[in-house]
Amino acid sequence: MTFEKSKQIWGLKWDADWVTAVQFLGDSRRVVAGNRLGQMMEWQLPDKLEGDAPQPLRQLTGHTNAITRLRCTRDGRTLYSASYDHTVRQWDTAAKSDGETKLTLNVGAVYRRSLRHSGKKVEPVLCTVALQPKSKIFANQKEWITVMLFSADEKQLITGDDGGQVVFRDRASGKVRKQWAVEGWVHALAVSPDATRAALSERRPLVFDAASRRVFRLWDIAKAEVTADLSKDFSKMYLPALAWSPDGKTILVGRGEEAEGKIWLLDAATGKKRKEVSPIHQYGVTDFIFHPDGEHFLSAGRDTVIRIWNLKDGKLVKELGKPRGGQFKDWIHAIDLTPDGTLLAAADMSGQVNIWHLA
């Protein structure tokens, strides 16, 4: 795949608030997104990649604060959602709907217009969606859950929170297998494919204060011990995006928090920087995903741009989208790919999910 013919197919409108997380359900055409309010919505994408954007199919209600991460098992049956409400919820995606409800898809635009004294009224766009049956609380922590991922074999669900807790849970039983605490807040976490090592960045965003914390270290998971402190190599940087390549050889590191959104490829064995790619994501990197072809990875940032990179040499292959906004740009909070790598979903701050066809 050259990605040259990649193009955006749909923008799935849902502007109740910023869309902050997105996930395809297995190899289906179903995609779920979460927003800053804790709401979740599901769409069924048409087989034909054309025509009007589909309306949402189902609403998933339960969280009470921002959704930070969504992860679905490869079989598409079980979805997990992490939130600032301190919980991880588990959803049965095959469950029959539990009634339906009406909602306004452009509630944000209607509210913003109501603040103005003049101008044309914005008509609400109404739709009816099915209601997902109640979810199960899979994990309950004491702070905002900022990180959630599976181990490569999907046997473990790993979370990190602003209380500094790193927790490895058995996904089948929910039991805690491993847990440790770091001094700062867990900002990003990546785990090696064999689940023996972790890359973890911490933050405590204080200004002019000795208690400010910007730390990046590699850990031995079994011993819960630091094996390498890479903080000096990333001095005074907040690193909100980390990812460990499926072949275990590379760790992607993205700088964020309004700084120049640089991306580095690290040698996973040594922690040494192998490559710094160019160009940067202006104002910061937000998310990474590896393409299933094993040769590429994608990055998203606070500049409304998604970039496709060659994993081997770090060269830019394709740029999707253009910077949008004023002096500061809107964000793409998160990205996800279908297992065949042909569809890309992006959680867009403006209140929509962008669906791209990669070709």
Binding site: R36, A66, Y84, D162, P205, V207, F208, D209, E258, F328
Partner: protein, 423 residues
């Protein structure tokens, strides 16, 4: 029979010359305070033994994420409100210790102020007047130093640490200038002498001798001011141990929080105990145009233990009833959340909190509208706030001073104290 006039009711020659001194260009020079010696007003205020601690939220804390939350509204952030020990009063979940002392707090939710940016806002919220005025107004610390302090004390009357005010003593003159400590309340590094105390004292004696000889032949106010400043510096050096809390701090840092701000609050407590009438502690940095929520979360986690423990310790020592604790910054923050996950400056409706010194706690004054965009009832401006503060400290808010020949009042004419706080 009329009582005899008191000395302070007369001009003395020095005051007259100071007050009417003109430069060659015809510009009046400050007389630093008043043609009329205001000793009576000072004595009256001093008798009340009032003190003030200003907790300065540099950059401007978000009212919507602290004391005026709007849960469920589009302007709300991710923080959740929690109940307090005052029925009906809710504050941010990241102020859990403050929630337990809310009965001591008087919250103003209807600040509407006039200076939207940092330098002008800092000046305005430290003086009660706009920075654009030609008169160099005196900071709140200088005013309280003048009316509640003692110039003969070894310790300074106006102490501050961290990011704080920018106006200085203004028309009150250098006697009431701030003494600045480091962020954590330690003495500035330059204050550490390499000399032994006896050597330092011998040098001081030599200096005094030379100054006295010089002054016999050159009698002028600047020489005397210089001599006085030196004497005060030496007195301060003798009393410098008051600023050193290093031995006590380990026993208190868990309660105050192990932060510069926590240590600063503990130092403020010790200075207030030693009779310092005004201490300001700056807390950086609330200017969260980007990443407002994580910025506030980190800051509030330092603020909460420090502020709440300070109030409890003042109360335990019987000092809270005479010590006003003010929590404020130069601006509030916008109800709208921008595309940097930030909130910008906002002055149409924001919050300030007072406690102690007779302020009736456990109440809220004023209100913002449902989204926090404007004041819904009982607007309070800078003048009203300073009138409330000065009244609580036993200082006449309409006290008149002079800048050259120009009369200057502590607060604008229309300023009104918040009556329910002072009842």
């Amino acid at each position: 029979m009329k009582p005899l006039c008191k000395p302070h009711e007369h001009f003395n020659r020095r005051a007259f010359l100071k007050g009417s001194l003109l430069t060659g260009a015809g510009v009046s020079v400050a007389n630093f305070g008043s043609l009329f010696h205001a000793q009576a007003a000072v004595n009256e205020a001093q008798k009340k033994g009032k003190r003030c601690i200003l907790l300065w939220m540099n950059g401007g804390a978000s009212q919507l994420d602290t004391f005026d939350m709007k849960p469920g509204r589009p302007t709300a952030g991710p923080f959740r409100p929690i109940g307090t020990n005052v029925n009906g009063l809710q504050i941010c979940e990241y102020l859990p210790k403050m929630a337990k002392v809310a009965d001591k707090l008087a919250v103003i939710r209807s600040m509407r102020t006039g200076s939207p940016d940092h330098p002008d806002g800092i000046y305005h919220m430290h003086t009660g007047f706009k920075q654009s005025e030609r008169t160099p107004h005196a900071e709140i610390g200088a005013v309280i130093a003048k009316y509640c302090g003692n110039l003969d004390a070894d310790l300074p009357s106006f102490v501050r640490m961290g990011p704080t005010g920018n106006a200085g003593p203004g028309y009150l003159g250098p006697n009431f200038a701030p003494f600045s400590l480091q962020r954590d309340g330690r003495m500035p590094t330059f204050s550490t002498s390499n000399l032994k105390p006896e050597v330092r004292e011998r040098r001081a004696e030599l200096f005094r001798f030379l100054e006295t000889e010089f002054a016999r032949q050159h009698q002028a106010e600047p020489f005397e001011s210089h001599r006085l400043a030196k004497e005060r510096a030496w007195r301060l050096l003798r009393a410098r141990e008051a600023f050193d809390v290093s031995e006590e701090w380990p026993a208190h840092k868990d309660r105050y929080g192990d932060s510069n701000f926590g240590r600063g609050c503990f130092t403020a407590l010790k200075l207030i105990e030693r009779g310092v009438p005004f201490v300001e502690i700056g807390h950086d940095n609330y200017d969260s145009h980007a990443n407002n929520f994580v910025c506030h979360k980190a800051n509030l986690q330092q603020l909460d233990p420090a502020w709440s423990t300070l109030l409890l310790d003042l109360e335990d020592r019987g000092l809270l009833e005479d010590t006003l604790v003010v929590w404020m910054g130069e601006v509030g923050r916008t109800p709208n959340i921008n595309n940097r996950a930030g909130r910008d400056h906002y002055i149409r409706a924001w919050s300030i909190v007072l406690s102690g010194s007779g302020i009736k706690g456990g109440q809220v004054y004023g209100a913002s509208d449902e989204d926090g965009r404007d004041v819904a009832e009982n607007p309070v401006n800078e003048g009203d706030l300073f009138a409330t503060i000065y009244t609580a400290l036993g200082i006449n808010p309409r006290k008149k001073h002079f800048w050259g020949k120009r009369p200057v009042w502590l607060t604008p004419e229309e300023a009104k104290p918040i009556a329910p706080f002072l009842s």
